[in-house]
Amino acid sequence: MTEPEPLPSARGDKIRVHPLVVRITHWVNVFAILIMIASGWRIYNASPLFDFKFPAELTLGGWLAGALQWHFAAMWLLVLNGLVYLSYGIFFRHFKSSFLPLTPRLVGQELGRALRGRISHELGVYNAVQRAAYIGVICVAIVLVLSGLAIWKPVQFQELALLMGDYEGARLVHFIAMALLVTFVLVHVVMVALVPRTFLPMLTGYAKRHPHGEES
């Protein structure tokens, strides 16, 4: 790697693990995604694709029109925030320094280690499984937005809709991407609950050097 961004950087006995842009976009994203999911579930309930509905208490908007208003207001926040994050990741080499290198072999090795109970958590460095998960969820979010656009504008953006199997196909893609995103969020929150010292750095940016961190 040539000259990656200064991460992790040290400050006394603390290490900087999350840059400010990542922290801000992370929490804005939490807010936007919670609104999108809760209102999206209400919209889904108006005409369920499958043989179930989401519990009304978990939904946002009160009725279909309200849910649509929330969904189509928060989408701007989601997309603008996402563009800031992606631009930062690409142009400030945050992605390169945090998510690369990544090969199937590295992911396999890490999974093997995890199965033997030897998960590596070095502060400020993602292991291969984490890298794969984060790249994966970014792709899922992009598919969510594109399928959302196809559902919103199936005539104006019909080429996009046709890629996903026309309007009804785009609905299905949107649903599956939502389910994958929700799965990621659940696993992500469980992981933070299991390793609570990873939580504060996403607010402050810094973490204390930890004696148990494996140094490679």
């Binding site: 919670l34 208003q69 199936p154 005539v155």
Partner: protein, 253 residues
Amino acid sequence: MTDKPKKPDRALIAPSAEIRRIERRLFLRQGLSLGAITLLAGCDITNAETVQRVLWRMSRWNDRVQAAIFDANKLALEYPESAITKPFPFNGFYPEAEAPRVDGATYKLELGGLIRDKAPWTLERLNAMPQTSQITRHICVEGWSAIGKWSGVTFGTFLERVGADLSAKYVGFKCADDYYTSIDMPTALHPQTQMTLRFGDEVLPTAYGFPMKLRMPTKLGFKNPKHITAIFVTNDDPGGYWEDQGYNWFSGS
């Protein structure tokens, strides 16, 4: 048509830039706590006035974005006869049995507003106009969709024929079931926007809007008024039955 539901206070929807800035701050501050409280406690406090106002404002913003995205020459996909959904779902704000029964023999389509020739039209005269048909996808705001075949008069041709002011902003519709709605002029002039007189291969049935409905594959289902009794051209936003209750006005596809 006289007792329209109360329209949102439009004075509240177009305040100064300063108020807009303040509200943006309020939205961010209240939004954060709202999101947290709503999601943690599961309670519904989305009726807070400020939040409602911001959501309405965003909906108006989305109207403008959709008007900008709208391509007057972009045609909705047409499907083969074999793709037609049977039976085609009925949808309305009342049960199918309560659909209004309009007498085709005495029916008169009223014209108003910025139209040169306001003489009412009979069904016979509408049927004598050049007819076109389309097999397109009807998409409901609820999410479901169905493919149907509609035939009738291209709306743009009709508007030209009666001397409508094509530079006006809106075309409004009043219906026999007290439904009302309005559309933007570019959509009114879209080649697939149709004054529908026939559904499938039969005269438009009562459930689907006899004697005449407006079919627009470029807008969501609820924007396609049925049982139309009056059409008017105007520059003042006429709103709509669902739109005034919170559904997005443009609702383009």
